[in-house]
Symmetry: C2
Subunit: 314 residues, 2 copies
């Protein structure tokens, strides 16, 4: 699969990452059957891109034990795309046995977080990314897209402020090591729209307008939707979010999680950007999330307010 | 008082409208003592602009019965400014007996809402605004600033979409009738950041960069902070909000209320804009709001997440 097929340039892609990032920290998680219903309801609402889990040992991460089934289910849906985290060679070997369309390998914008999170320096992480690239190409003629997720791009829970130049540098090293796509992440929700606008302009200046760049925001401090608006304004076409804003922040217990998916769709509508996603169908799909994880708080303004008059029935 | 004293051009003004808009729809409201504590705590946090109530008959609007006391208290605080709604000549007469710094008279961007809300056509509302302007000038040599609040500027609960040209038109008529300042309101939370950016540019093109223009957003559909960012990006320097996002929407029961004040302060900080307001002090002030209205849901991401590492203690 090529990045331009996964993320066509002329299309807004809103990717549902709830089945991965949304379940990263939860104590409860849905059954496989509930996950498939969640997937199917969102597919019917018009969502086409799904991050489904992480290739990790099922014993330690039971919430992702059914990842293969979810990938298979997604591959049977027309024009639907699946993504999974692959954090090491073993994960890539597992991924290559599936039809997953995109593998995300995570590097960190800061050395401290790289070591704390993965016990690898940034240089070691880039070396592993290069090995993963070689591994996928050796394994398959048309391997999955390889994406470098850049954690802590807008501030770091360990180092505090992050120099945006460091993000550009690690992005450049990731692309050189073989990544097709960048996923620039505000892992802990420190970023604001001015930083986002600057970062997007610099990334596009450094790597060209045709480079696929996804942005991944957390609403930890209430700026996720403003950050999405800034990203869209500056030409970003791939954004991550979770239905109901699932997914917290390990460094801010009780904080809001990922960008609320359905509010992000409304933002796009309000900006005149076509998503082909139906908000009312999404709101209906929240029920399965609520039912399968009753103790998880769901966030989101659209769920409280409903569609404004001029969009009712649209 | 002149508008340029109330809203200096070189300064970001974040106005707390909780004591007015935040109490507009609530069944509970704080005692006068609790309101004064709320006011003082926010003043200590650095807030200097307060909308305190509405000059309306106390029998029908008991939540605003102590408006005069709040104005008096505010006038005793150094460099603090008070605002109140004055919706008719009687209200203005009452206002002129106080030291209120700003009177807001509300006009509607749509004829339907004007009639439904006030039983006045837009033309009748503009005529009343002109009479109010004459009344304030006859009453005092240095009368309060007169602001035209333009309701439903980004969409109307009755008419649906609102033509931005109609907002510019009613704004122009309001200024001609004697208003010093415009307060452009997304009363029902229909607007998005693209509309806001367009509106601000058109308003400034029509009325000049030195015209004081305040923007008033509701977070009904999750776009308030994105709209604030768009307004600030395009030169707006006066924004309204409520601690804890108080204030609902009469047309969307259960919806989020006004822009969350403390999240708006964080937005400004993230954009490098000086507000002189301390977020941790604001978060502490939420306690008095929560204690005085225990049944009102308080919103806001900062309250859940706390300050990011790089701003701790700043």
């Amino acid at each position: 699969m090529q990045a331009r097929h996964l993320f066509p340039e002329d299309q807004i892609v809103l990717r549902e990452v709830g089945l991965r990032d949304g379940l990263q920290l939860t104590k409860q998680y849905p059954t496989t059957e509930q996950k498939l219903e969640w997937l199917n309801l969102e597919y019917r609402a018009g969502v086409r891109h799904f991050e489904l889990g992480s290739f990790l040992p099922a014993a330690r991460f039971p919430q992702f034990a059914d990842l293969r089934e979810l990938i298979q289910a997604t591959s049977s849906l027309e024009a639907a795309f699946s993504t999974a985290l692959t954090l090491n060679e073993r994960g890539v070997a597992d991924a290559l046995e599936t039809q997953v369309d995109e593998m995300i390998f995570v590097v960190s914008a800061t050395e401290s977080h790289s070591i704390a999170n993965t016990r690898r320096s940034q240089t070691e992480a880039i070396e592993m990314l290069a090995r993963i690239d070689a591994q996928r190409r050796a394994g398959r003629a048309d391997p999955p897209v390889l994406t470098a997720g850049i954690a802590m791009s807008f501030g770091c829970s360990l180092e505090g402020e992050v120099n945006p130049r460091d993000v550009i540098k690690i992005a450049e090293r990731s692309l050189k090591a073989g990544a097709d796509v960048l996923a620039v992440a505000d892992t802990v929700g420190f970023g604001g729209p001015k930083q986002v606008a600057w970062m997007v302009r610099e990334l596009r200046r450094a790597f060209g307008d045709d480079q696929s760049i996804a942005m991944h925001f957390h609403d930890t401090r209430g700026l996720a939707i403003a950050n999405c608006a800034a990203a869209l304004d500056n030409g970003i076409r791939v954004l991550d979010g979770c239905l109901g804003g699932l997914g917290g922040c390990p460094f801010a217990p009780g904080a809001t999680g990922n960008t609320v998916f359905e509010d992000m769709v409304f933002l796009c509508k309000s900006m005149g950007l076509q998503t082909n996603i139906d908000i009312e169908d999404l709101l209906a799909a929240r029920k399965i999330v609520a039912a399968s994880m009753p103790d998880e708080p769901l966030h989101g303004a659209m769920a409280r307010a409903g569609l404004p008059r001029m969009l009712e029935g649209v």
